[in-house]
């Protein structure tokens, strides 16, 4: 489904991605882990063109992505570390905004769909609240519902629990686990090793802009091949 080949990205003189090659199949759940500054987030942001890569290629269903293909972006949902909910819109308006603007869904249908999604993330009672009234965990669940409202085929998560208080992490991970069960293709940049181990089909370990290991979680966490992965796991586990 996603075919990444020799992906390179620089910010000024510093090269953050030094040639990433990998394939992600439909329905796969990928956990991207690694030390901070290793290029995980940049890699994820390249996948939906929030960053434009300098070299290499990203193909989705065989088609090269570039800015002109805004249709491709509709296929990809993204959840951010800092939620990025629209503060001047209610929860319901946050979720219905893009379907109405982009997919031209009528208001009634968008709202019906949004309420179903809110129920799925356990926030039916917050439909008319403004984001400032929600806890971090609730905000992130709304953000997930907002991304799902566009019916994406792929969901990208950029450290979705890193900005949360510890007691809120679980509720967000639970929503993500439910999403895994639906067969959604997911790429998750995360520091939650337990979660990665439990739900991921594959772990991509990145360090210094390179993809160092690409392994099943059971093998990666028990028996990391490279020294860099060993050092990293020793620090975080």
């Amino acid at each position: 489904m996603i075919d990444v080949n020799g992906l390179r990205k620089s910010f000024g003189p510093s090269e953050v991605l030094k040639g990433i090659t990998t394939k992600i199949s439909k329905g796969e759940v990928i956990a991207v882990i690694g030390p901070s500054g290793s290029g995980k987030s940049t890699f994820l942001r390249c996948l939906n063109l929030l960053e434009t890569h300098n070299a290499g290629s990203i193909k989705i269903d065989g088609k090269e992505i570039d800015q002109l293909e805004s249709n491709l972006r509709k296929k990809i949902g993204m959840v951010f570390q800092h939620f990025n909910l629209f503060p001047h819109l209610t929860v319901l308006e946050n979720i219905t905004f893009a379907p109405q603007q982009v997919l031209k869904t009528n208001k009634k249908e968008a709202e019906k769909n949004a309420l179903e999604l809110l129920q799925a993330v356990g926030l039916s009672d917050k439909a008319h609240a403004y984001p400032s009234r929600l806890s971090g965990g609730q905000k992130q669940r709304v953000a997930i519902a907002r991304a799902l409202a566009m019916n994406p085929e792929i969901m990208l998560f950029d450290e979705p629990t890193s900005a949360l208080d510890p007691e809120m992490v679980k509720e967000v991970l639970q929503v993500m686990k439910n999403l895994v069960k639906t067969g959604m293709t997911m790429v998750i940049v995360t520091h939650e090793m337990g979660f990665a181990k439990e739900v991921a089909d594959r772990v991509l370990f990145m360090d210094d802009g390179r993809l160092v290991e690409d392994e099943q979680p059971a093998i990666f966490f028990e028996n990391p091949k490279t020294e860099r992965a060993q050092v990293f796991l020793e620090k975080v586990l």
Binding site: L50, I76, M78, H82, N84, A98, V102, P131, M150
Partner: protein, 219 residues
């Protein structure tokens, strides 16, 4: 103390009518200045280099020269260069609109830049087109940052409008001077004019507070 407000009484309606002239003047300048300022701010944050350059140069010139000079140039130069006669009111409005647009464009640009970058990214990631992103997501949030500074600009404009009296527009200021000259008593009419300006500014300040409170409902 040599004050005689009784002498002023017959002239009060004449001075009060100046409120209408001043308000008209300020309102037209404001609307034109705001529209032109919005366009300039979009030039400044846009990707077209020549428009960005133009907007920056424009702002620099209008902020870097005295307002009264700009007004006199427009008032005297337009007829001299084009042969078209231009009234004091029109010249004044034109000057104030062009001048305040320079300030307003900076206010709006700063307001837009102060909106969290994540808002734009979230909209882009949802596939929202540029136009609806700006109109429905970025600008409504920018307005909240902009409003206090914008209100300040409106207040300045109301007060500074008094300099159109120099080219003879019959605003509050000019009327107070005329009354003063005909009675040989300047202090009383000027005091009245000052009181009127102060009340106008207070009204604007209160309006601004009400609007800010309304925009803050999502906090």
């Amino acid at each position: 103390m040599n004050l005689d407000f009784a002498q002023l009484v017959p002239s009060i309606p004449y001075i009060l009518y100046g409120i209408w002239v001043t308000l008209q003047f300020v309102a037209v300048s404001l609307v034109l200045g705001f529209l032109w300022g919005t366009v300039l701010s979009l030039f400044k944050i846009g990707k077209v280099t020549i428009l960005r350059w133009f907007a920056d140069a424009y702002t620099s010139v209008f902020r870097g020269t005295p307002l009264i000079l700009q007004m006199l140039i427009i008032y005297y130069a337009v007829p001299q260069l084009t042969g078209m006669d231009i009234g004091a009111f029109t010249a004044g409005v034109l000057t104030f609109a062009l001048n305040s647009a320079a300030y307003i464009s900076e206010i709006i640009r700063a307001g837009i830049n102060a909106v969290d970058k994540g808002q734009k990214e979230a909209a882009i990631a949802l596939g929202v087109p540029y136009r609806s992103m700006m109109l429905k997501i970025i600008l409504p949030q920018a307005m909240k940052n902009i409003l206090p500074a914008l209100m300040n600009e409106f207040i300045t404009l109301t007060k500074e409008s008094a300099i159109v009296s120099v080219i003879g527009a019959l605003d509050i200021m000019r009327r107070a001077q005329i009354v003063g000259a005909s009675n040989y008593r300047f202090f009383e009419p000027l005091l009245l004019a000052g009181l009127i300006y102060y009340l106008l500014v207070m009204m604007l300040t209160l309006t601004g507070r009400v609007m800010e409170r309304r925009l803050a409902k999502s906090d």
